[in-house]
């Protein structure tokens, strides 16, 4: 087995893999194979006020397979969320990320869990990328107490403190000053970590972004502002909302980089570059050129302001999962069947989790009053008579 492992990693012939697949689960040896592979990104980077990183990205079979699996999981999860919403198990707002998965997985590959990420309401996949479980996602979406925010946050308020995922924010653009505050705290504590503050092309026109950018540049904060440009701010195309849709240049004195957001490896390279830059020189803006297949949210069909041809065109030419699939197949890291098996397995995992989440309990009514205040210095509002507690806010 060791010999065939060596042979399979050195030679690129597909034949060698066939006998192995029958006796061993293929995943075992691919998932530990870290032989470096160099891949070129789809398009070169465009830069503003800085030197663009190289187009050649180092990766390895294990990473590519992880990308594939994670993106397949995210895609499946979002599509399942679509059906759940239509079945009225998810209420309120539901903003789906399918099409943009490469940004989440590429970013994770370049950073550690000590770096902070903060994003907007389109946060389901970013949460998974940060280590959240499927059950937490579905339970939260359905308002169950097993959700990541105990069912009290909903689709737009996913948080995971232990892996430095700061959410999950409903108000467009409000997360960017928060993100710069996270970067400030990192600088204050001298952590040598960075913060990625994600926002969309719609939020790029918010004034508080420029305020926060100014302060970050002044104080040299390790803040990386990432514009996930899916070209539509709700129903308004970017050319109708922004005089200058070159969002990576909006920083003026702050360097920027434009990245193909559908190429996970390009995203990884850009984030790695940005992290190094931010730790040395302060803020930088990344513009991820990406696309969302669904509408802005579940109430938006997504086809009144763009043609179906456009959507299918992007899906055929630039889909992130297909790109990784082609890479894996062309480098003979796995067969078609194996990849299909992974997708089937992912689908089953999602379905099982949904079943589990559907049966999980709703929050207890007393949870209405928990977590309004943190306990400290006697934060309890007593009723008129201290003997009788009207509402004890723990």
């Amino acid at each position: 087995m060791a010999l065939s492992y060596l042979r399979s990693s050195s030679s690129r012939s597909a034949n060698l893999l066939k006998p192995l697949s029958s006796s061993l689960p293929l995943r075992r040896h691919i998932s530990t194979d870290t032989t470096p592979i160099t891949v070129e990104t789809s398009v070169p980077f465009t830069s503003h006020q800085c030197d663009a990183p190289s187009r050649s990205v180092e990766t390895n079979p294990k990473e590519l397979l992880t990308f594939f699996r994670d993106m397949a999981l995210m895609r499946r999860m979002e599509i399942a969320a679509d059906s759940l919403y239509k079945a009225k198990l998810i209420r309120g707002f539901c903003h789906l990320y399918d099409g943009q998965e490469a940004v989440a997985v590429g970013m994770e590959a370049a950073i550690t869990k000590k770096d902070c990420i903060i994003t907007s309401y389109r946060d389901h996949c970013t949460f998974i990328g940060r280590g959240g479980t499927l059950l937490e996602v579905f339970a939260e979406l359905m308002g169950r107490q097993g959700g990541c925010s105990k069912g009290k946050g909903g689709s737009m308020h996913f948080y995971k403190k232990d892996s430095n995922f700061y959410g999950g924010h409903g108000i467009v653009g409000a997360q960017v000053p928060l993100g710069c505050g996270l970067a400030f705290a990192q600088k204050y504590s001298k952590d040598e970590t960075v913060t990625f503050a994600l926002y969309g092309d719609g939020a790029a026109n918010q004034g508080q972004l420029f305020e926060a950018l100014n302060i970050s540049a002044l104080w040299d904060l390790p803040a990386i502002l990432v514009c996930e440009n899916n070209h539509y701010g709700m129903g308004t195309a970017e050319w109708r909302a922004a005089k200058s849709p070159a969002y990576y240049k909006r920083g003026d004195y702050v360097p920027g980089l434009k990245v193909d957001g559908m190429d996970a490896l390009a995203v990884k390279q850009a984030c790695k570059f940005a992290k190094e830059h931010a730790l040395k020189n302060g803020p930088i803006i990344l513009e991820m050129d990406t696309y969302r297949y669904h509408g802005h949210s579940m109430s938006d069909p997504g086809s009144t302001y763009r043609t179906r041809d456009e959507i299918t065109g992007v899906r055929q030419e630039r889909d992130p999962i297909e790109r990784i699939r082609k890479l894996i197949l062309s480098h003979d890291l796995a067969t078609e069947k194996e990849l299909k098996d992974i997708e089937k397995e992912v689908r089953k995992e999602v379905d099982d989790t949904i079943t589990q989440a559907k049966e999980s309990p709703m929050p207890d009514p007393s949870e209405l009053f928990t977590n309004v205040y943190a306990k400290g210095l006697g934060v309890e509002s007593f009723g008129a008579d201290r003997k009788e507690l009207r509402a004890s806010l723990p």
Binding site: G167, A174, P177, F184, A185, Y373, K375
Partner: protein, 411 residues
């Protein structure tokens, strides 16, 4: 001078009890005499029908004072914490705030200050003077004029465990940061299921000053009071300013500390030792029997001034500085209402939707059975604060109106 005031229905229900006419010489427990440099403009004399004369502390009206000075026995504050037995030290209110802030910054390296002109300039009201030199630029941060974003940054930093103190140069400017304060500051602890606490303190001067104009005379406590998840406190004396500042910094919850532009130069003797004031406790300024007067911030002084007149007329008002604007200290207030059965609220907020409006509702809801008369609430007029001095004076509740209101209430 015709004084008009609000909340006094002409038909006050016939009251069974009548105020005792014997002069109650119970000693007054009011705060020690302090200089009022800010009040030089407010001089007026109201002649009452019974011949007694209202006065104010303005030296110009001093001739009236001789009549009453021996009745107004101003003792030093004998509330338990600020004891007159310990020497203590005298300082002004803004210095007390600075002392509290400095002590907390010494005690906890995670405390930092951010705001406009707080660092090198020393603070527009000198609250942070000297701190930048002592703690450095990373802990006392001069921000650009971008309230929305630097408040957001303070909240983001607080999510990681830092304890920022965000200063609004004037509370009115924090309206620009309303989104951050409401959605992120107040609600993040809840929407994250308890994962994040936001131990931020947002402070700044507000209230009606001396002809500062409409936009610089705002009372934001009425706008912020509905935000779930925040606590609001208003300081009124150097003692409670320092105590509340320290408690707010130590609290795990977001606290908004309301100071008043005109109170920064109050002088008081405060203890040397470390102390904090409970964030949800009201302060009993002057115990009494006849009527409960609930007030906070600058109106406390108008009330105390009116109290002197009232005492001369034979009334015995109980004055409570509610201090905690959210949540209300219904325990202290309730005990008082059960004792006096009459409530007068004196506030600086506008009539509509102010703290007084909420307090009226809260007291009515909880203590309706104990009330002998409808609650009276004296608030500022529902107008933008005018620039002209006389107009501005009529916008805000004046002591004479308080006296008249108490008389009406106690009929």
């Amino acid at each position: 001078m015709a004084t008009s005031f609000h909340g006094v229905g002409a038909a006050v229900a016939a009251l069974s009890s009548s105020p005792s006419n014997s002069f109650d010489s119970k000693k007054l427990l009011c705060s020690p005499r302090r200089s009022f440099p800010v009040r030089k403009g407010a001089s007026f004399v109201v002649a009452r029908s019974d011949g007694s004369v209202n006065f104010d502390l303005n030296p110009k009206a001093r001739r009236a004072q001789q009549l009453i000075v021996n009745a107004v026995a101003t003792k030093s504050d004998s509330s338990p914490a600020s004891s007159s037995s310990k020497p203590g030290h005298e300082l002004l209110l803004f210095e007390a705030l600075r002392e509290g802030l400095e002590e907390e910054m010494d005690r906890d390296p995670r405390v930092c200050v951010m705001g406009e002109d707080v660092g090198h300039y020393g603070g527009s009201y000198k609250v942070t003077r000297g701190l930048a030199e002592k703690f450095g630029d990373l802990r006392v941060l001069d921000t650009p004029i971008a309230e929305n974003s630097f408040t957001g940054m303070g909240i983001g930093a607080a999510m990681t465990g830092l304890r920022p103190v965000v200063e609004g140069m004037n509370m009115g400017f924090l309206l620009l940061a309303f989104n951050q304060i409401s959605n992120n500051c107040g609600m993040l602890h809840y929407t994250s299921g308890g994962q994040f606490t936001i131990p931020i303190v947002i402070r700044g001067p507000g209230g009606v000053g001396r002809q500062l104009g409409a936009e610089h005379s705002q009372r934001l406590e009425s706008y912020f009071q509905s935000i779930p998840g925040i606590q609001m406190v208003a300081c009124s004396t150097p003692y409670n300013a320092k105590g509340l500042m320290k408690a707010a910094i130590r609290s795990e919850n977001p606290v908004i500390l309301f100071e008043h532009v005109l109170l920064y130069n109050l002088k008081e003797r405060i203890p040397d030792e470390d102390y904090i004031c409970n964030l949800e406790e009201a302060e009993m300024v002057r115990p009494g029997e006849h009527v409960t007067i609930l007030t906070y911030s600058r109106m406390r002084y108008h009330v105390m001034q009116a109290a002197k007149t009232l005492v001369n007329k034979g009334y015995d008002p109980e004055v409570i500085d509610i201090r905690s604007l959210k949540p209300f200290d219904l325990h202290t207030i309730g005990n008082s209402v059960k004792k006096t059965h009459r409530v007068l609220i004196v506030e600086e907020c506008m009539r509509t939707g102010g703290i007084g409006a909420s307090l009226t509702a809260a007291v009515t809801e909880n203590f309706h059975d104990y009330l002998d008369a409808p609650i009276m609430c004296l608030s500022s007029q529902d107008v933008p604060t005018p620039y002209a001095g006389t107009l501005e004076e009529w916008t805000v509740v004046q002591p004479a109106q308080i006296v008249t209101a108490v008389e009406q209430l106690c009929k």
